[in-house]
Subunit: 310 residues, 2 copies
């Protein structure tokens, strides 16, 4: 740990999906301040233009390239086209690091979902990142570029609770993809990281609160959460340190240590200590959440009757 | 543990997808022997007919109903229609337990995949089970039936390695769905379980070996694996004991204990002991696998050149 050189994004080309707001934008500003070339991708051109103004405001050198690309990222073709466009501005070369920050969540009861709520959850939580990685991994391997691919999962990629049946499977899937891909891309010297942020106070959070069940909001009411800037800073410092699974707060760190699977550890001694805490703490947490849900049964029956479920 | 009554499938209606071969068929035979009514669903009518003959051979009582239904399960509509057909034979009532054993895997390198390899991985590993649960959870809740929904994930739902970029995300997603749904369905008294089998020597295994990369086969060469019968027996006894996450062998038990997330434990003392072993053992396992992959780099370059990747 103490002797290895930290990864430095200065003068590197950093590609960020979902880069026009929330975590993606905060990360774009952070790496721009550190002297990186930044490409951001999102759908909304107005948000992209506003984001570019914010990037210009923190420019460190006249040679830094800041570019914005409007693409939908929910399918393989457009995700590949977006990466291609950004590469063109750098002599056709793959970015040095690809951060897939795009995505969104629409929490609701499974029993109230329509078919498309479940499929959209997988698109907006998984495919919107997987397709970018699909294009980036191939391009990096072809070029022999020892680049980095960084996924953004969620604390809900480690655990789950009521309300997240469309989101948590997608975030678990990203973890599965990151762990599988890290293993495969060892063959090429390409690094794969995965970030597991907790609640972030971003435009996405406001959006998801519109559909979030009352019981879920109640359970989460004690969460502290992070600002987009705090989350971006945790993410970048995790990547700089070479951590494969990156957590941004203590709660997620406990879940990370206690759900490590085959992922490399960040700091063995600390992770063992966290695991001990989680060994006791996580079951207690779960029992208290289960109790809250069970206590909510009657109220929920009334709610369902009011919604005409039966 | 010692005082709670075991769940008993005698005289209950057990619905099993993928019930015409492999794990699903072995499970169907097992519960038929215990006196359950059994509905099996699969695509291939010939396999279904053969399976029915095997069920008849272990019939315990003339009143047992054994039925087979030919449906594709990769979409919401057909999955719901299959469940509806099976319910009709039981007075329109939901089955007492729904085991989603359908699914398949096609291991290959991420870098050699076409778009549809990745999407089919999610359909055959995730949606083929999620849609059945989607229909079953709603029907059970509407009827007030305190039933059971049992998913079949994989050891690769806890961890992953090279070769499983299309399969492991789907199996992780199932874990995420099971954990979210267990929490939501506490509201209705419906139980959710998830089984994580290791390598099973079934027709599906022979199928996946056709595309499995050499390095993946090499890493797995020391795995012991289970027969379909052993796996079915581990699955059923887990459900009988009320275990939420069910593992069929020691390796998976270690990964279960060390990736418990917010899932309830099976046996707290034993799980703590397993977690200690995993604390030391899993990182050693991972390092040895990483080494094997790195040692494979040169051979892999040659392979890719031969395939015209560059």
């Amino acid at each position: 740990m103490f002797f290895s050189k930290k990864w430095d994004c200065r003068n590197l080309h950093i590609y960020i999906t979902g880069g026009s707001q929330g975590l993606g934008l905060a990360l774009a500003i952070l790496v721009a301040k550190k002297g990186a070339h930044v490409s951001i991708v999102a759908r909304n051109q107005i948000n992209l233009d506003k984001a570019l103004i914010q990037l210009e405001a923190v420019r460190q050198s006249p040679s830094q390239l800041f570019k914005a690309y409007s693409f939908s990222l929910d399918n393989a073709e457009d995700s590949s086209a977006a990466l291609h466009a950004a590469s063109e501005a750098h002599g056709g070369n793959a970015p040095d690091a690809v951060f897939t920050c795009a995505g969104g969540s629409k929490p609701m009861f499974f029993l109230e979902m329509e078919e498309q709520d479940l499929t959209r959850g997988m698109v907006n939580g998984y495919w919107v990142q997987a397709w970018t990685a699909f294009a980036a991994a191939k391009q990096m391997a072809r070029e022999g570029k020892k680049g980095k691919i960084i996924f953004v999962s969620s604390t809900l990629g480690y655990m789950s609770l009521v309300g997240y049946t469309s989101y948590s499977p997608a975030k678990h899937a990203l973890r599965g993809l990151a762990d599988s891909l890290r293993s495969e891309l060892l063959l090429y010297g390409i690094d794969v990281h995965c970030f597991f942020p907790p609640t972030m106070y971003t435009p996405g959070f406001e959006e998801e609160n519109k559909t979030k069940p009352a019981i879920t909001r109640h359970i989460e009411s004690t969460d502290e959460g992070l600002t987009a800037e705090q989350a971006a800073s945790a993410l970048l410092s995790g990547v700089e340190n070479g951590d494969v699974h990156i957590a941004g707060d203590l709660i997620t760190r406990l879940f990370r240590a206690s759900t490590r699977g085959s992922a490399p550890r960040s700091n063995s001694l600390l992770d063992v200590a966290l695991d001990f805490i989680a060994l006791i703490g996580v079951p207690l947490w779960r029992r208290s959440v289960d109790k809250q849900i069970l206590a909510h049964r009657k109220e929920h029956q009334t709610y369902l009757e009011g919604r005409g479920f039966f």
